[in-house]
Amino acid sequence: MKTLTCINCPIGCLLTVSVDEHENQCIKGNLCKRGIVYAKAELTNPTRTVTSTVRLRNAAVSQLPVKTSSPIPKGTMRACMLALKYIEVSAPVAAGDVIIENVCGTDTDIIATRSMPAITDLHA
């Protein structure tokens, strides 16, 4: 048996998942249907959006915030973080710019989430 907390609303139902004698999954503890949908997704393919930063040169701050353009499988998060570790970007950057294409074979891009002018532009 496994337990999960539904995150779709502040009630936060504690969902218990068990398998009956016919190998059917049985989800209990939800107060509404969204709990079932959530538990199924969490059990089959849990995904998360990764947000982090990469090094930024030629800008007023040294870090550029980035995210995966869509949620990626939970199991690939570590590899994704590692891929970000050695990236360095130079301003100017616009929010939405692709920083890494198809990160770790997830079919998801890493994109910038903040626009940063180059320092030279700032003084122009």
């Binding site: 907390t5 609303c9 998360r48 959006t49 998060m77 929010a95």
Partner: protein, 422 residues
């Protein structure tokens, strides 16, 4: 001295939305004064996602949410002075500020306070033990990691389970630190469920509810903390103490509105929220000075900050167009049973819009209860709520028509009542 119709103090989400709201009502002589070198406020360091679900029906990161408003402010051509720190505001709306070019004196016809909040520092907490290096507020750590690219430590204990602490537990874990525990005094977390699941459970970080840090150990750098269980009176339980070694302690024990300037301007503050006392137009006790966003009361969702602040901007515009309205009624809005505070705390049914949203927080966790609205002793509205928690701001909507049957109402009360006796 420079003069301006409307000066806005702070260029975070509140200040930007207030400026846009005022501009939409035809006020163009505006200036936003912001001490940092960029607009966006605290959102610039909140790189995680979860912003904008209410306002845009999209999940944005903090910087993305901010950028939508920055673009709007720029498009409208609203003047902004960055790197400009406001030092003083007088009750007759003279502003003193400083920036790299020197001192600035501005006389404004109306002012909107949008300075945000600051984290409660540890001094307010009285933990026994030494005062070594390695103790930061969670927000300071967030700034180090997300803006400066500097990880403040490798073995972390977090005191307080507010959202910022939870977010930082995940952030530091992803950056390679080990978060050993999140310690929460109350029997529940004030953080969002979603953050508990995605920031703690995902990484098997223990959340110790009804626990607190009873001692800090370490001479130069922090070496560890003693953690104890607490009883229902929040007193440490003898014998429950355990030692957790760590090189960093993050404090996420709440936020306080940043109101030194408001006090200088003779604005009355609420002892409960730490923010200004306002009427339904979000006007403080000093006429022509308005407040919105986290400086008014601490918000958990930026979407509501933007909504509230647009309203403050529109009302400031209205004030500028007609500074002295006909005599005003001030009906108090009281926090009844189960309710910790309401914003606004006064209202005038004659000058209100068709609808008025009253935001409030409850003082405990309540299940299966009713949110009730009373005009004097008459209940005029109630709604069932499955769960109410202090961590989530609630609201009720007052409609102008409610007053047609209650013309002489002298006070309005909001309560959270258990369903059994309702």
């Amino acid at each position: 001295m420079q003069t301006v119709d409307l000066a806005i103090i702070g260029g975070g989400p509140a200040g930007m939305a207030a400026a846009i709201g005022a501009h939409e009502q035809g006020i163009e002589d505006i200036v936003i004064l912001e001490r940092e070198n960029a607009l966006g406020g605290i959102l610039n360091q909140c790189i995680h996602n979860g912003f904008g679900l209410h306002a845009f029906k999209e999940e944005l990161t903090g910087p993305e949410y901010a950028e939508r408003y920055i673009r709007k402010v720029t498009e409208l051509g609203i003047p902004v002075k960055l790197g400009t720190m406001v030092l003083d505001i007088t009750p007759d709306k003279e502003i003193t500020a400083v920036n790299p070019k020197g001192m600035l004196h501005i006389r404004a016809k109306a002012i909107i306070l949008a300075m945000g909040c600051r984290e409660r520092p540890r001094g307010a907490l009285n933990i026994p033990g030494t005062r070594p290096v390695g103790i930061y507020t969670a927000g300071t750590a967030q700034k180090f990691v997300n803006l400066n690219g500097y990880l403040p430590g490798r073995e972390v204990v977090i005191l307080g389970s507010g959202d910022i602490g939870l977010i930082m537990a995940r952030r530091m874990t992803l950056e390679g630190a080990e978060v050993k525990a999140v310690v929460e005094l109350m029997p529940y977390s004030t953080g969002l469920k979603r953050n508990i699941v995605q920031c703690l459970d995902d990484y098997d970080i223990p959340l110790l509810l009804s626990h607190t840090v009873t001692e800090i150990i370490g001479r130069h750098r922090i070496e560890g903390v003693k953690v104890s269980a607490v009883d229902e009176n929040q007193m440490p339980v003898p014998g429950s103490e355990q030692f957790i070694s760590c090189d960093t302690l993050l404090l996420s024990v709440g936020l306080l509105p940043e109101n030194e300037l408001s006090m200088a301007a003779d604005v009355s503050l609420s002892p409960v929220t730490g923010g200004a006392v306002v009427n339904e137009r979000l006007e403080t006790t000093t006429p022509g000075i308005f407040a919105c966003g986290n400086v008014l009361h601490v918000h958990d969702l930026v979407d509501f900050v933007s909504e509230e602040s647009m309203l403050a901007g529109r009302n400031a515009a209205r004030y500028l167009q007609n500074p002295e309205p006909a005599s005003r009624r001030e009906i108090p809005i009281r926090s009844g049973q189960g309710v910790r505070y309401t914003v606004p705390s006064f209202m005038d049914p004659d000058t209100m819009d068709e609808v008025l949203t009253i935001r409030f927080r409850v003082n405990n966790v309540y299940r299966n209860c009713y949110i009730c609205l009373y005009f004097d002793a008459d209940r005029v509205y109630r709604r069932k709520a499955r769960i109410l928690t202090p961590g989530e701001m609630e609201s009720v909507v007052l409609k102008k028509e409610m007053f047609t049957e209650h013309k002489g109402v002298s006070s309005i009360t909001i309560t959270a009542e258990e369903a059994t006796n309702a």
